[in-house]
């Protein structure tokens, strides 16, 4: 669009008001949190080695988890939106389940599957001697497990909104379904994809319960920033708030700079 968007009149007052209320409701606690932060000690808390280490771990594991969501969730969302396989309704509902499991239980479930004595974990350990829990791999798995449903569901919604007829057009031009997926479906679903990635990344960044249960909590390898926040919370609530602010600021910075550039969303 080169032109300004069509001028369809002022936005309806009730929508503006309701939207403002929603925004205020979301922002108010954040403001309160910022106000309540221990500003005098902030820098020392935030610049501690352990905090920096945890932040860095959080950032890269979340990013990898978002990448895994993209790799695995994109095909799944596409299958759910486009292919009428038997049992699709059930699979779609089951995909939602990790959303409702309390994160700690999600961690328990992951342990039952990938733990030392788990369904996959035990054979894995006996065959190769590898162990997933207590490693950074486990952090990434926990993040992915928790974030994937968000990604899949929001992307599926977006895929359903893209016009099927354009895929027919691509097919008549000789594009296989794979080419069509890559060159037509994906670009058309880009806003939904971006939204899904943001959801997945942010959910990973804040993930706590599944991570500590499945991956454990050890500085440097598995203690992400939320775990660091929790650790601090046991002793010093102010420090926990300060560390949370770091998460908050990093998230806003990343989203304001990266997302808008990458996805051209104004």
């Amino acid at each position: 669009m080169v032109d300004a968007p069509p001028r369809l009149g002022p936005p309806p007052t009730r929508l503006v008001l309701a939207g403002a209320v929603a925004a205020a409701f979301l922002l108010l606690p954040l403001v309160a949190l910022v106000v309540a932060a221990p500003w005098d000690r902030l820098w020392s808390i935030v610049s501690a080695d352990s905090a920096r280490e945890a932040l860095w771990l959080s950032l890269w594991t979340s990013t990898i988890a978002a990448g895994l969501c993209l790799l695995a969730g994109l095909p799944l969302a596409w299958l759910l939106a486009r292919v009428a396989f038997p049992g699709r309704r059930l699979v779609r509902a089951l995909v939602t389940v990790p959303l409702v499991l309390p994160p700690v239980v999600a961690g328990v479930a992951l342990l039952s599957a990938f733990g030392r004595t788990g369904m996959i974990g035990q054979p894995l350990r006996e065959a190769f001697g590898t162990q997933i829990p207590y490693t950074t791999v486990a952090v990434i798995l926990a993040h992915t497990f928790v974030a994937l449903p968000f990604f899949v569901l929001s992307l599926e919604g977006a895929l359903r909104a893209t016009p099927l007829r354009l895929e027919s057009a691509a097919a008549t031009l000789g594009a296989t379904r794979w080419t069509t997926f890559r060159r037509v479906t994906l670009p058309l679903a880009a806003p939904g994809l971006a939204a899904g990635l943001v959801l997945a990344w942010a959910r990973s960044l804040g993930e706590f319960g599944a991570t500590i249960t499945f991956a454990g909590n050890y500085p440097g390898t598995t203690r992400t920033l939320p775990l660091d926040v929790y650790t601090a919370l046991q002793a010093d609530r102010d420090a926990a708030v300060a560390l949370s602010l770091v998460l908050l600021v990093v998230c806003v910075l990343v989203l304001v700079t990266l997302r808008e550039r990458w996805w051209g969303v104004r």
């Binding site: 027919s168 057009a169 691509a170 008549t172 031009l173 000789g174 594009a175 296989t176 880009a190």
Partner: protein
């Protein structure tokens, strides 16, 4: 492999809304005409594989094949340009999908854009194209892959006269040494006559008539075919015809066969109706006069005659037609 193979394209559709079979001989063009909702789009989409139907080409059975395994090029009635690609990449899409590298595909696409008279819109996205520009880009996109089966669903609908003429010439030139087959959906008699070797008339979801353009012009089987060729259509009871016309059938005669007079005509013309001039529209030096009375009648007369007779809207006049000019249509009123 034992079973009879037919060369060219054969499409069979068996849906509630269309039951039809159409064959196109190698190297030839078939125009598909018919009223809105007759099933023309359904037919060509079946050939493309985007709608259900059975298709074979040169003896190969394409029925089970997805569109991308068929060598088709299609212009959709709604264009269906890819909104996220600029005009050049839209045209290059088919080439790239068939394995041409991006750079080469884009060069070819640029040549096609020049050929359709739009070298300047290469970098514009469909949202910034005018309706006619989009239509032309869609045509270029379909032709660029050099498919063996060309499926064109009203490709000239939104074009201005000059662009229409240019693209008709382009298409005619393309079709002249084209060894594949073409299905052309059109509402324009000129297209049907100038580009097609054969015309298929679809009506109410069935094939009403098949023949060369001249055959159908001479003996249209339905009112639509007659109207498409610009003929007057009346009920047989109301017209004197040579030979026998069963009641309930329709008859037709060309506007050029109609003579207009201000006074009741005296000559040998046996069909005569009085009416009032509704419109008088000149086109290419011929004035088509629409006379309203008991029937809607069209007469083609010279501008001089219009001046002499003072055929302005509102003026009463007589129309007459010789019985020998009247053809009996095969079907009943629609």
């Amino acid at each position: 492999m034992g079973r009879p193979v037919s060369r060219g394209l054969a499409v069979t559709v068996d849906l509630p809304r269309l039951r039809a079979e159409v064959r196109v001989r190698p190297g030839s063009t078939v125009a598909v005409v018919g009223p809105n909702g007759a099933g023309k789009t359904t037919l060509v989409e079946a050939a493309a594989g985007t709608a259900p139907g059975r298709t074979s080409y040169d003896g190969e059975d394409w029925s089970g094949l997805p569109p991308y395994r068929r060598s088709v090029g299609m212009v959709f009635q709604e264009h269906l340009l890819f909104p996220h690609l600029d005009a050049r990449d839209n045209v290059a899409f088919g080439l790239q999908a068939r394995g041409v590298r991006r750079h080469g595909a884009r060069r070819t696409a640029e040549r096609w854009l020049s050929r359709i008279g739009l070298p300047d819109v290469a970098r514009q996205r469909p949202a910034a194209l005018s309706g006619g520009q989009a239509q032309r880009v869609a045509l270029a996109r379909a032709l660029a892959t050099q498919p063996r089966v060309l499926l064109l669903d009203e490709p000239f609908a939104a074009l201005d006269v000059a662009a229409g003429a240019q693209l008709r010439l382009l298409l005619a030139a393309h079709l002249r040494d084209f060894e594949g087959v073409t299905l052309l959906v059109t509402h324009d008699a000129i297209d049907a006559r100038a580009l097609a070797d054969e015309v298929v008339v679809l009506e109410h979801g069935t094939v009403a008539q098949v023949g060369t353009p001249a055959e159908i012009a001479e003996a249209p089987a339905t009112a639509h075919a007659a109207r498409l060729l610009g003929l007057n259509v009346l009920a047989a009871e109301e017209v004197v015809v040579p030979g026998h016309a069963p009641p309930g059938t329709l008859v037709t005669f060309a506007p050029s066969a109609v003579t207009l007079t201000v006074d009741e005509p005296a000559g040998s013309a046996r069909n005569r109706w009085q009416g009032v001039v509704h419109t008088a529209v000149e086109r290419d030096g011929i004035v088509r006069v629409h006379l309203r009375g008991a029937h809607d009648l069209y007469a083609d007369v010279t501008p001089a005659a219009v001046d002499d007779l003072g055929l302005e809207p509102g003026r009463a006049a007589w129309a007459s037609v010789k019985a020998t000019e009247v053809t009996v249509l095969a079907d009943g009123p629609t």
